[in-house]
């Protein structure tokens, strides 16, 4: 029992960070699942993080209102980004969103009144693990419903072939706009969750490293089902910890190699609903050849 408690104490924070990263990965997944590669989750996270940190410090609001506020802030940022960038084609969209991440850091650095500037900001509130679990569960439930709704079906169609989807009456830009608003809200909430987990945020908290981590988590876990990003975030967060105990000297190298190997052998990620269908089809072919019933 004591060992269990020790384990929990040792890896509790890893689990907390995995859950926060899962929120970021879901935010990235929200737009990726409509065929848009965007790094702007970092921007939404910064908006949500600083908004939440400042509002608990100065407005004295509680944890959950702060999450709500961060979500709204992120959603607003998401709709602004979508309005400005959705006209760009996919390659430019990716570059533009990356540029926006760089601009965000400069903005954060130069608005010390809002963000604490280079010195960062102490966050006078922390999020209990239980609340974090509930938060992630709520967000996951939203994605679960989305996946099974008309929006989910339309999003998949837009992702696979936007032109074809449009000739069936599905407005790709409209779907992608919605995706950005969802991504913004979830990213904002994630940013707040990170602020409450770290209890200290600075311009470096929301920067390139985070952009690459979240996109890697999403694609590693699989960007074709909402469960993929959650799995990916867990794996990607646990990797450094695992590697540190196995190969402490070259843990980063090992982490990179693991990422590389998974992506080469499972380019669609760890969770891939299509692979299930393909396996079923292959089985059916085999049994058809053998002349037996399925």
């Amino acid at each position: 029992m004591e060992t269990l408690l020790d384990l929990w104490a040792a890896y509790g924070s890893t689990i907390a960070f995995a859950m926060v990263n899962a929120l970021f990965a879901l935010s990235t997944y929200a737009v990726l699942s409509t065929g848009v590669l965007s790094f702007t989750t970092v921007v939404f996270a910064a908006v949500g993080g600083f908004l939440a940190a400042q509002s608990v410090a100065h407005l004295g609001i509680g944890l959950w209102p702060a999450f709500a506020l961060a979500g709204i802030g992120g959603a607003v940022a998401g709709s602004v980004v979508a309005a400005a960038f959705l006209k760009l084609d996919s390659h430019w969209m990716a570059l533009a969103s990356l540029a926006l991440v760089l601009i965000t850091r400069v903005t954060v650095l130069n608005t010390p009144l809002l963000t604490g500037g280079v010195n960062g900001l102490v966050v006078p509130m922390s999020v209990p693990m239980g609340d974090l679990v509930i938060l992630l569960a709520l967000v996951a439930a939203v994605f679960w419903r989305l996946h099974r709704s008309w929006y989910g079906l339309a999003a998949r169609a837009v992702r696979e072939d936007a032109a074809v989807a449009s000739t069936m009456g599905i407005p790709p830009r409209g779907i992608q706009f919605t995706a950005f608003v969802i991504s913004g809200a979830v990213g904002g909430i994630g940013g707040a969750a990170l602020a409450f987990t770290l209890q200290f945020i600075s311009p470096e908290t929301y920067f390139i490293g985070m952009a690459f981590t979240m996109i890697a988590s999403t694609v590693l876990g699989g960007s074709f089902h909402w469960f993929g990003p959650i799995v990916g975030a867990a794996v990607f967060t646990a990797l450094p910890v695992t590697m540190q105990s196995v190969l402490p000297a070259i843990e980063d190298v090992a982490k990179g190699v693991v990422l590389l190997v998974i992506m080469i052998f499972l380019p669609r990620g760890l969770v891939d609903p299509r692979a299930v269908g393909l396996r079923r089809a292959a089985r059916r072919r085999v049994s058809a050849e053998e002349g037996t019933d399925v």
Binding site: L32, L37, A84, F85, K87, L88, D89, S90, H91, W92, A94, L95, A96, L98, A99, L100, L102, I103, V106, T107, L109, N110, A163, F212, I215, A216, V219, L220, S223, I250, D252, V253, K255, G256, V257, L259, L260, M263, I264, P267, R268
Partner: protein
């Protein structure tokens, strides 16, 4: 006035490094359709290899440049074949390649740290043309002039290569559509390899020169070039090397003058605001071609 001219030249030389790096990055993006996060590490490694050629093997600087360039190119080839080729054959698209490039970025960056013992090294001042030349009342660094000249030569060379040669036509064809290029009798595999090598080599060149010019040979070298080189590519338009070159130089000069006459704190803000303006107002960059039609 002399100060103004000297600073303009400083900015030009600095921007030339951004541009030189950006050309390689843009080449890979436009021809191979890969947003390569590992591209910065080619520059770091080229500089590190070049440093050891001078420091350990005692060879002259031009040899170090040559070896660094080759190292950058070969590294790019290796990364392409290990990280991108398996995905290419499965049509995994830009996304998969981005992730494998992130993997290589992590690996190569951390190995570069080991190669330099986590230190920032510098080429001995005596080993490269580090002196000053007087041009009238102006003082100009020899290496600065070399960097400026190298960018001009590389830009013209690569532009001619892409626009005027059979290989260039093939590269553009691959850029549009690999399948179509293969059907059209172009050996797509060969074009991909050459493009990867060329991109790695130019970035390697930028790396060695930047390592010497800034007295900073370390695993952080590439990251700095990457951010600014990336900005040059976006402002210039990723499918035209001339645009990248001009945008890079422009960014360098703007940086220097904003720092001198406005504020250093706002310097990067200026650069990235320019980036944002281009993204929104002229998303195809300075020379970018009109949108192509896809149905």
């Amino acid at each position: 006035m002399i100060l103004f001219l000297e600073q303009a030249l400083n900015g030009w030389a600095l921007g030339s490094l951004y541009a030189l790096f950006g050309i390689g990055f843009g080449l890979v993006f436009s021809t191979l359709g890969i947003l390569n996060a590992a591209h910065g590490t080619y520059a770091s490694w080229a500089a590190i290899v070049g440093y050891y050629v001078v420091e350990r093997a005692g060879l002259p600087f031009p040899v170090a440049v040559g070896v660094g360039v080759a190292a950058g190119g070969l590294l790019a080839l290796a990364v392409d074949q290990i990280a991108f080729q398996p995905l290419r054959s499965r049509k995994a698209g830009m996304l998969g390649a981005l992730i494998t490039s992130i993997a290589f970025w992590i690996i190569l960056d951390s190995l570069a740290g080991f190669a330099t013992e986590q230190q920032s090294l510098a080429f001995p001042a005596a080993s490269f043309p580090s002196g000053m030349i007087d041009i009238g009342p102006m003082k100009v660094g020899q290496l600065q002039l070399i960097i400026i000249a190298v960018l001009i030569v590389c830009t013209i060379g690569i532009h001619l290569l892409i626009q005027k040669t059979r290989l260039g036509t093939a590269m553009r064809a691959v850029g549009w559509n690999e399948v179509a290029a293969a059907l059209g009798g172009v050996n797509a595999r060969m074009v991909i390899l050459l493009t990867a090598f060329l991109a790695g080599a130019t970035s390697g060149l930028a790396g060695v020169l930047a390592g010497a010019a800034t007295s900073n040979v370390s695993f952080t070298l590439g990251e700095g070039l990457m951010l600014k080189g990336f900005a040059a590519v976006v402002v210039g338009g990723y499918d035209d090397v001339r645009g990248t070159a001009i945008a890079g130089i422009l960014l360098g000069i703007i940086e220097v003058f904003v720092a001198q006459y406005v504020s250093t704190a706002l310097r990067d803000g200026f650069t990235y605001s320019l980036l944002l303006i281009f993204l929104v107002a002229r998303p195809r960059g300075l020379f970018g071609s009109a949108g192509f039609v896809r149905a």
